[in-house]
């Protein structure tokens, strides 16, 4: 029995401290073993599951990628019927076939014909291009989910003081809505489905507003998140209906608007052309801003000269692309397009030359030549997306008067059935999903954690709404944004399978086939498992590289 306690320690009769195990401050050895065994017992199923269903298949798939494994040659059922077919180690052949393919008759080899007999694998690079194109929607999707999260963080309920009265009004409105639904059904039964649908839409909107006013933001959050309760395939089928090129709601809604636009543009064809110069000017301004920022980073020692090469190249891409789309010297190019392209290219090259001349003056603070490459690349990539969007808008505005002058006028796109619209349609759907998705939830959670003191301090400093967002909210959300970007990039590279499978079958003309759908096609439509594994591992390599890149360079923004 313990007799006394010295400095929190039990002692025996002789005053010597007792064994810690006996004191109960440390478990006995046997207890350690027991606890270890219990812990292992709990995690063993998980570890076994991971080994059996994740790690081993992964390693198996990796091995597979270096063989000629084909379901038509290698499976147990076939062995029974046709005998053993040897499984061969083929080295990097599958990866070679993934990246390159033999040239067709009359087709030049790679690198301007220097590598004879081989050219880039048309299918794979196109599908990788499709995947990257889809990922261009990521920044917009993130921006929209942040916007929705900020809206849903506001207190939108009626407030306590007038709650009762509002509840009363709300109740009356609900009753009105119910009457409207009844009316809708009656109208639809009487053979006017369009009017019925409009009534129903108004009724639904009114219900949401009523509920939101009386109950508060929870209603809106729930409604925004509702699509995520629905299985993906069901959502895709719904969007397929929405994208019906003739009778879909989107087309039906656009048609009267476009009819009016046609009349308007035909009456004032100068307007889109004027707007075109505005968008072109904005594109050039982005270019100027981009080069100026890179130049500033270089001078201030945040960017080394070697690291500057790729971002500068990326910033130049839009100018080269616009040249390839509208060759100003080609016969038949419209005069406005010629002038626009030449002006844009002149502006971009002027910005480039200006930056180079300025940089030739040397750095104020010297840095390593490979300093800051990642940050500069990410910045240049964002500038690239912005420029591409504006160039696309410019090209559209340029064509608008001629499209409107056609007998049919401006027509709604054919959405998924149109080779040019299939990808943007799916991106549009993806953005819709992102607005109310998990990204929004993460942002809502992050917004609740922004300390109010910071907003108060910024108010004292005289910050307006935008100032508070830019100087408080956005920096405070940086870790969340970083996490979202990393996950979105991974998801984007791996994505597109369900949409291609359910909505388009990868078409038209392979426009919506992504790398993940390509893996499925090769593996399960034709049985080339080894080749399919090679694609999957290449995709893994890509995802891994991009993620490492993100962690390596993206973290800086978070830590700043």
């Amino acid at each position: 029995m313990p007799t006394e306690q010295v400095e929190g320690m039990l002692t025996d009769a002789g005053g010597k401290p007792r064994d810690p195990i006996e004191q109960g401050t440390q478990s006995p050895r046997v207890s350690d073993t027991k606890r270890l065994a219990t812990g292992l017992a709990f995690i063993t199923p998980n570890i076994l599951g991971f080994l059996a269903f994740t790690l081993l298949p992964l390693l198996f798939a990796m091995g597979l990628a270096f063989t000629n494994w084909d379901l038509r040659l290698h499976n147990d059922m076939r062995v029974e019927q046709f005998g053993e077919a040897p499984l061969k180690f083929v080295g990097l052949d599958n990866f070679r076939d993934l990246l390159f393919e033999p040239t067709l008759p009359g087709q030049p080899g790679m690198v301007f014909g220097l590598v004879d007999g081989w050219t880039w694998n048309n299918s794979f690079w196109k599908y990788l291009g499709n995947t990257l194109f889809f990922m261009m929607a990521t920044p917009f999707a993130i921006g929209l989910s942040l916007l929705s999260a900020m809206l849903l963080s506001k207190d939108l309920s009626g407030g306590n003081a007038r709650n009762k009265r509002r509840m009363l009004i709300g109740g009356a409105m609900v009753a009105g809505v119910l009457l409207m639904v009844g009316g809708t059904l009656t109208v639809m039964r009487l053979g006017s489905p369009m009017n019925g649908m409009i009534l129903l839409f108004c009724a639904a909107a009114a219900t949401i507003i009523v509920l939101g006013t009386t109950v508060g933001q929870t209603v809106y959050r729930t409604i925004f998140y509702l699509p995520h309760f629905v299985a993906g395939v069901a959502t895709f089928l719904l969007w397929k209906k929405l994208f019906n090129p003739e009778y879909g709601p989107l087309t039906m809604a656009l048609r009267p608007i476009l009819d009016r636009m046609t009349a308007f543009i035909n009456a004032a064809p100068w307007l889109p052309l004027t707007l075109m110069w505005v968008t072109l000017g904005l594109g050039a301004a982005i270019s100027f801003f981009g080069f100026a920022k890179l130049r500033k980073d270089y001078v201030e020692g945040d960017l080394g000269w070697r690291s500057a090469i790729i971002p500068f190249g990326v910033m130049l891409l839009p100018a080269l692309l616009i040249f390839s789309w509208y060759d100003p010297l080609a016969e038949g190019t419209a005069m406005a397009a010629r002038v626009a392209v030449l002006l844009y290219m002149a502006a971009v090259f002027a910005a480039l030359v200006h930056a180079i001349i300025y940089m030739a003056g040397g750095q104020e603070i010297a840095c390593k030549s490979v300093e800051g490459g990642g940050s500069a690349f990410m910045f240049a990539a964002v500038m690239l997306v912005g420029q591409l969007v504006l160039i696309g808008l410019t090209a559209t505005l340029l064509q608008l008067p001629s499209w409107a002058a056609e007998p049919a006028g401006l027509e709604p796109p054919k959405w998924l059935a149109d080779v040019h619209w299939a990808k943007p349609s799916i991106m549009f759907m993806g953005m819709w999903a992102a607005i109310g998705g998990n990204t929004m939830l993460l942002y809502i959670a992050a917004l609740t954690n922004v300390p109010q003191e910071l907003y108060e301090a910024s108010e004292i400093d005289g910050a307006g709404r935008f100032g508070k967002f830019w100087n408080v909210t956005w920096p405070q959300l940086a870790p969340t944004t970083f996490f979202i970007v990393v996950m979105a990039v991974i998801g984007g590279l791996q994505g597109g399978f369900e949409m291609a499978r359910v909505m388009t079958g990868g078409g038209p003309a392979g426009q919506t086939t992504t790398v993940s759908y390509y893996i499925f096609q090769e593996g399960f439509e034709t049985g080339k498992l080894a080749y399919s594994s090679a694609i999957a591992w290449f995709l893994f390599f890509l995802v891994f590289t991009v993620t490492v890149f993100n962690w390596r360079f993206g973290n800086r923004y978070v830590n700043d």
Partner: protein
């Protein structure tokens, strides 16, 4: 927490046992075989018929046949098949799946059993042979038997013709006549209807069109693409590129002449759904005059007829009250065509009907259908397919599964297909009957003579006459070959590339694919030598074609060309290969 885990573990164990205990195999002492097939209510009836047939013909063998409609997807069949857990009997579509599954070793060879049990190739249509057989070590092996025959042809809606006031098409037509008819039809059909577009035909099978020019997906020796070729024509000239012409024509018909809907317009017509589905609704309401339909679409048409007749009879009751009881008598005694003739006669004589009661030939009464051949250039032809059953090599009850295929050749099963209209019956012996050719009118089933009587024999005649199955090359999967064609073709339709580029690129890619596949074969694989010999023979054939001379039958491996050259009188069946011109001669 550990107790929660234990409880969950216990509950899951119990659930697993419950699922195991309630498996059909556990509830019966009979051997259970599964049939993977499509979702069709008639399958339950066919299962009952099979059990009756077994009791009658094989009373010593107990079996319980169960349907598995959730695993019909091709990828599921492959994964389950190679994993050893496939269904005992599996439906496949055309030789495309039969060959793919066979190459994976999941399809049983049945030649001997088929002869013994009476479901050999002689029990079905000769044209289906390539869809049901494979070649193994130079020997032809039967591996499947049809559940039905899925051939389509052009069906037109006489109700729409009556509404538009336009004459019926001829029984058969060339491409030029079809185009002229189509233009005239759409001009008249859309003259007073600016908000709605009516087309002459919903679509035309591209392979039927280019085959009518005398070319095929593969060349004569199956060693390369045939779609970029200039076909040998009846006058011994090789002047037209069939695939190019077919693409040009379909593009022109869809985008320039507007006699057929574009892909997006078809998508807008909402063509999902089995046995016609919404495409049938679109046909019925007159979006297009001609539908590319198989006999299986009668299943939905019969259902539609019931609704249409109910609508008609309601109007006729109203007209009877309005003083025209004779119209109802005419409908009951002479049918819907006579009824509308009478209505038109009355209107011509000055009678004005209440518009709410006036029967609409497009919407009221049974569909009045007729049929016309696909338009053609040199060779009238039709597509041929089948939903065929195969026996899974991993089945524990192969014998019983094989008996199911014997059942497919039986009178009981074929009578069911005849009555149910789920395609043509697999065994042609059961088509020579009134029940097939002229089924008795039955308002309860929606069977009406005006809808069906002109169609059954036409579908049958196609299968026994002009229909040709797909062509399969031993060097490439059909699906892979098709994929090489898809993108360039879509790009042409979308205005990205020229038609010549589409043909040349497709052919070049297909040739490359075949060459790559052959290069990956084992050095001692006999296909290598066969391919090399085929290439040599192809050169000789190309030289003969360029010279406008007949092609020796023994040089040709592609059954389409055997048929085509025979039809145009350019097949040398003497058995002695003639001297060939220099092989360097260009084909074109």
């Amino acid at each position: 927490m550990k107790w929660i885990f234990l409880v969950i573990f216990g509950v899951l164990t119990l659930c697993s046992y419950w699922i195991y205990a309630t498996l059909p195999e556990q509830e019966t002492s009979k051997p259970v075989i599964y049939w993977v097939t499509d979702r069709n209510p008639a399958r339950n009836q066919q299962v009952d018929l099979f059990h009756d047939w077994m009791a009658k013909n094989h009373p010593d063998k107990d079996v319980l046949l169960l349907l598995d409609m959730g695993n019909r997807d091709g990828q599921k069949q492959i994964i389950q098949g190679v994993s050893g857990v496939g269904a005992d009997v599996q439906d496949t579509y055309h030789g495309v799946q039969v060959r793919l599954y066979h190459s994976m070793g999941i399809v049983e060879h049945l030649t001997e059993q088929a002869k013994e049990l009476g479901f050999g190739l002689d029990q079905t249509y000769p044209a289906l042979a390539t869809e049901l057989t494979v070649t193994v070590d130079g020997e032809t092996e039967q591996v499947a038997f049809p559940c039905n025959v899925a051939n389509a042809r052009y069906i037109f809606n006489e109700g729409l013709l009556r509404e538009v006031g336009f004459p019926a098409p001829p029984e058969s037509w060339t491409i030029e006549k079809f185009e002229a008819y189509g233009k005239a039809f759409v001009e008249k059909a859309n003259a007073d209807n600016p908000t709605r577009r009516r087309f002459v035909a919903r679509d035309i099978p591209l392979d039927v069109l280019y085959r009518s020019y005398g070319i095929d997906l593969f060349n004569e020796t199956l060693t390369g693409a045939g779609i970029d070729d200039y076909a040998l024509t009846p006058d011994g000239l090789a002047t037209e590129r069939g695939y190019v012409r077919a693409l040009e024509l379909t593009y022109k018909w869809q985008r320039v002449d507007r006699i057929m809907p574009t892909a997006s317009e078809i998508a807008a017509m909402n063509t999902e759904g089995g046995y016609g589905g919404a495409a049938l609704a679109s046909f019925e309401r007159g979006d297009f005059l001609i539908s590319n339909s198989g006999r299986w679409e009668l299943i939905k048409m019969r259902e539609t007829n019931k609704l249409r007749v109910r609508r008609l009879e309601t109007k006729l009751d109203g007209l009877a009250d309005a003083g025209y009881p004779r119209l109802r008598d005419i409908w009951e005694a002479q049918g819907v065509v006579a009824l509308f003739d009478e209505i038109e006669r009355l209107e011509a004589s000055g009678v004005v009907f209440d518009q709410a009661l006036r029967p609409d030939p497009l919407a009221d009464g049974p569909l009045v259908l007729n049929t016309v051949q696909y338009p053609y250039r040199f060779l009238p032809n039709a597509a041929l397919g089948t939903r065929a059953a195969v026996v899974y090599t991993g089945s524990d009850h192969k014998e019983l599964a094989t008996l199911f295929l014997a059942f497919l050749a039986s009178e009981e099963y074929n009578a069911n297909i005849v009555a149910d209209a789920d395609g043509l019956p697999p065994n042609p012996a059961y088509t020579d009957s009134e029940a097939f050719l002229r089924p008795a009118e039955d308002p309860d089933l929606g069977v009406y003579s005006e809808t069906e009587w002109k169609l059954h024999e036409a579908w049958l005649d196609d299968v026994q006459g002009i229909a040709i199955g797909k062509t399969y090359s031993p060097y490439v999967l059909y699906r892979e070959a098709e994929r090489e064609l898809g993108r360039p073709r879509d790009e042409f339709y979308e205005g990205i590339g020229t038609v010549e580029r589409a043909a040349d690129l497709s052919a070049a890619r297909l040739d490359r694919l075949i060459a790559t596949n052959v290069s990956k074969l084992e050095p001692d694989d006999p296909l290598r030598d066969q391919y090399a010999e085929g290439l040599e023979t192809q050169k000789k054939i190309d030289a003969l074609k360029a010279a406008g001379k007949p092609i020796p039958a023994e040089w040709i491996s592609n059954p389409f060309f055997t048929r085509y050259y025979r039809e145009i009188g350019m097949l040398d069946e003497s058995g002695s290969a003639i001297e060939t011109p220099a092989v360097e001669t260009e084909t074109h």
